[in-house]
């Protein structure tokens, strides 16, 4: 069989990257995300000071480009003399950890619940989904506050609260995908070969449900950071002096005229981080959505 010039078929990763890169916003988001991760990994190296060390003679120093700024503290200091830049850098690390832990825990729990509901059907399905419905009834932040109020303030409890609040999204997605896949012939074929439920769930069906879940995780990162920051702002999350961005905002409102950088900088950090993850999530969804494929 004679064939002429045959362009080698590009690998799946290359094809995926091409679809992803078509979305400029997504690429920008990805770049931002990489910067963030690098900064948080190298926090110990990049930060000029310790995030909790207070410099009593230097509180409310403005950033370097304003009059009165000092090179020692490029982005200024807060009301007890802590270096803003260092706090922001360490805050980045904290946010990444929060985002990662919350998103992955919610993913694992939610997916397991969703798959179980899809496979078990009947009463189990109804029970799990109604539980998720109950969680969805409450505004997410309010529910998180209630959970933290019960468990006590602190970063770990705040993270747990956010996991519970974001659980329904993953559960529903996993269940919907699993139900669609269960109707397909290849599941019947595996069943016919003798596969038991556990293998069917995690080895046969789960890999085919991953696309929407991946998108949800990347968006869930952003939600986790935002929610943890909101709880921190309310004083229910990370407690001072932990340099979590939301906590940094708490009590900073009063400085909006005198020392805008104490308020604005953590806020901007949250803004850009959440934006970056949202853009990446959107890009992933567009790249993975088969209906948009041309």
């Amino acid at each position: 069989m004679s064939a002429t010039q045959a362009a080698p078929m590009p690998g799946r990763l290359a094809l995926f990257w091409r679809s992803f890169a078509e979305n400029r916003g997504a690429v920008v988001g990805l770049a931002l995300m990489c910067i963030l991760i690098t900064v948080s990994a190298l926090a110990d190296v990049l930060a000029l000071h310790s995030p909790v060390e207070q410099f009593r003679e230097h509180f409310l120093i403005p950033p370097i480009w304003q009059e009165g700024g000092l090179w020692d503290y490029p982005l200024g200091t807060d009301d007890v003399g802590r270096d803003m830049l260092s706090r922001l850098i360490y805050g980045a690390r904290l946010s990444i950890i929060i985002g990662f832990s919350v998103a992955s825990l919610a993913l694992i729990t939610g997916t397991t619940l969703g798959l179980t509901a899809a496979f078990a059907g009947g009463v189990v399905d109804i029970f799990i989904m109604r539980l998720m419905d109950i969680l969805l009834v409450f505004p997410s932040l309010l529910l998180a506050i209630v959970i933290v109020a019960i468990l006590g303030p602190g970063l770990f409890n705040a993270m747990l609260a956010v996991v519970v609040v974001t659980l329904p999204g993953y559960t529903r997605l996993a269940r919907a995908s699993a139900l669609a896949e269960l109707a397909r012939d290849y599941v019947t074929a595996s069943r016919s070969a003798g596969a038991r439920t556990f293998r069917l769930m995690f080895d046969t069906v789960l890999p085919n449900c991953l696309a929407p879940l991946i998108v949800q995780v990347s968006l869930g990162f952003a939600v986790a950071i935002l929610d943890a920051a909101a709880l921190g702002f309310l004083g229910l999350g990370a407690q001072p002096p932990t340099p979590e961005w939301g906590t940094m905002l708490s009590g900073a409102l009063q400085f909006y005229q005198r020392a805008w950088w104490v308020l604005a900088l953590p806020g901007l950090a949250i803004l850009f981080t959440v934006l970056a993850f949202n853009l990446v999530g959107d890009g992933l969804r567009d790249a993975l959505d088969p209906k948009l494929k041309r």
Binding site: M9, R184, D185, Y186, T188, A189, S190, R191, S192, A193, G194, A195, R199, T204, P207, N208
Partner: protein, 321 residues
């Protein structure tokens, strides 16, 4: 000739709908089917959508238990779930849709080895060996071992599906419209492959299809189904040469043929399949039958021997006259 599978009075009913305020309906997808499968032979089940052939395929592959009736494999009655799980390995299925019957996230090698893995057969090396050997048998290249299903054409995927069905060395293969989704030239390749494998491995095929020309080529025995019941059952040549049941005649007349001499005289085809939830009393075909008489709408005909076939019709004598 060894009898591999026997079906006696198989019924499969599905309760549907119902709720707090509505009564539950019953869909009688399969309502009384008998057949015998012999080693190395092909029984074709023919019918249009809604006739119950796919449901019958699922019952025969032991994926679903029958609501009523008995299934015997190698003389052993499939009585309970445990027996079903054990005997499932001797009956495997090839599905219709080549795009949906393979796991998109697994390579061909993994797909073929999976049945062996699940049943703990052989070591990892032996399983790979068996998978590669099977690839040779169905005409796939060895370098395709690590490829994903979406990289193959429809015909090649069907070969993979056939290979997978054979990994556990079943004696019976239920093929549910295996070539319907394929182009004519690919269809020919896959049919040849199936016939070669049947001869080599002495497989019994339960071949489900709506395409009469394919059935005519591959089957030895043909059963025509309508609304869950068999209406005619007999040897292939006889069924095609002298169909007895009015539905069989209608089916053959409606099938477009490239050979002008094969086209039977025009038979007007009216009406549509009755709703499965509300089958009319009497013969299900009566509303569309050109020979329907009073008895047909009152009393359901049972299959009886007539001119070498088993036919379910009251008016056979009158039709022949």
């Amino acid at each position: 000739m060894t009898v591999l599978m026997q079906a006696k009075g198989i019924r499969r009913h599905y309760p549907v709908g119902g709720g707090l305020f509505a009564a539950k309906g019953l869909v009688k997808a399969v309502d009384g089917v008998d057949f015998t499968l012999l080693e190395g032979e092909t029984l074709a089940i023919v019918g249009e959508s809604g006739c119950g052939k796919s449901t019958l395929a699922r019952v025969a592959t032991l994926i679903e238990p029958p609501t009523d009736g008995e299934l015997l494999i190698d003389g052993k009655v499939v009585a309970n779930d445990a027996a079903r799980r054990n005997l499932r390995l001797s009956v495997q299925m090839v599905f219709q849709n080549p795009f949906g019957s393979l796991n998109p996230r697994k390579t061909v090698g993994r797909i073929l080895q999976e049945p062996l893995e699940i049943n703990h057969r052989g070591t990892a090396a032996e399983r790979e060996q068996a998978a590669r050997a099977m690839m040779d048998k169905v005409g796939l290249r060895q370098d395709q071992f690590g490829r994903y299903p979406h990289m193959f054409s429809g015909g090649q995927r069907q070969r993979i599906a056939i290979a997978r069905a054979l990994m556990l060395n079943p004696r019976i293969v239920v093929a549910d419209e295996p070539v319907s989704a394929l182009d004519v030239s690919i269809q020919a390749q896959v049919l040849n492959l199936m016939m070669d494998l049947q001869e080599e491995l002495k497989l019994a095929y339960l071949f489900i299809s709506h395409d009469l020309s394919v059935v005519r080529h591959i089957a030895r025995e043909v059963m025509v189904m309508y609304c869950g019941r068999p209406v005619e059952h007999g040897p292939k040549d006889s069924i095609f040469a002298t169909p007895r049941h009015p539905y069989t005649r209608m089916l053959l007349a409606a099938t477009p043929s490239i050979d002008p001499t094969r086209r039977k005289q025009a038979v007007t085809i009216k009406g549509e399949l009755p709703s499965p939830l509300n089958p009319p009393p009497g013969c299900a075909f009566a509303s569309r039958c050109p020979y329907a008489a009073a008895r047909c709408t009152a009393e359901r005909p049972e299959p009886r021997a007539f001119a070498g076939h088993l036919v379910a019709c009251h008016e056979l004598e009158r039709i022949e006259a």
